[in-house]
């Protein structure tokens, strides 16, 4: 009916609770989770840029938070989320463009690769950043 928010509360067949976890579904779910996380992260990274334009006091404050332990953990998670969303996003573009990678075996391996890329990539970036 018009003006009514929800459709009929009809019974749902079981789906979520009998669904087996596998790499491709995890890959898809994490694309969305990291996307939502990066949405929040953009505001924090934005705060850094705004502080830089505001002045030294504001910048020192943001720097203090960023270099604190919770700040560093958050930034590490942010870097992992960026790398995962980037790698899996490229996969979406390859799905949409050349349309390859749909075969079950390839799809699972690709999901695993994207997770590995995010974790190892973040570790490599952070160790390189601490050396230079």
């Amino acid at each position: 009916m018009a003006g009514q928010g929800r459709a009929d509360p009809r019974p749902l067949s079981p789906h979520v609770q009998i669904w087996k976890w596998h790499w491709t579904m995890a890959g898809s779910i994490f694309h969305r989770i990291t996307g939502v996380g990066l949405y929040g992260g953009a505001f924090l990274i934005g705060a850094w840029l705004i502080a830089l334009a505001t002045g030294p006091e504001a910048y020192t404050f943001v720097e203090m938070i960023a270099f604190s332990l919770p700040g560093q953990i958050l930034l590490f998670l942010w870097s992992m989320a960026v790398l995962y969303h980037l790698a899996n996003g490229l996969r979406h573009l390859i799905w949409d463009g050349p349309m390859v990678g749909f075969a079950p075996g390839v799809a699972s391996l690709w999901s695993m690769f994207n997770f590995a890329f995010a974790i190892i990539g973040a570790a490599v970036i952070w160790s390189l950043a601490s050396f230079y």
Partner: protein, 126 residues
């Protein structure tokens, strides 16, 4: 067989799905290049302290790429969050409110960050 009841209830297609889909992918394509640059740059800038970061942001190429990154990333995440809201929020009023809030939040952040880049640019006296 389709009836006109669907249109009366206002539950038909909005007709903007294709545009949304294409824009999500075009911004993704831009971000594929901008994000690696951004990660590399922000690490350098952060390690350089206040003065160093300011000098970095005031360089023309960095200011240009910063504005492009902000624009593409924020447009992309507005589209993405729109889909998340549409998927999970069934109540019409709440959904509409969150969709508007999504746009407001992203536009506010875009304005503030782009103005910040411009302020750094003009203050540097280029």
């Amino acid at each position: 067989m389709s009836t006109s009841a669907k249109s009366v209830r206002g539950l038909g297609s909005a007709g903007t799905g294709t545009q949304h889909h294409i824009r999500q992918r075009v911004t993704a394509l831009a971000l594929l290049f901008l994000v690696p640059w951004f990660i590399y740059s922000i690490i350098h800038a952060c390690k350089a302290g206040y003065e160093g970061a300011l000098t970095w942001a005031a360089q023309p190429i960095n200011a240009i790429l910063l504005i492009l990154t902000v624009s593409a990333a924020l447009y992309h995440m507005r589209l993405g969050m729109q889909v998340v809201i549409e998927d999970y929020i069934a109540k019409s009023g709440t959904k509409q409110a969150l969709l508007i809030l999504n746009t407001f939040a992203v536009v506010a952040l875009a304005t503030a960050t782009i103005l910040s880049v411009l302020k750094i640019w003009f203050t540097a006296g280029a």
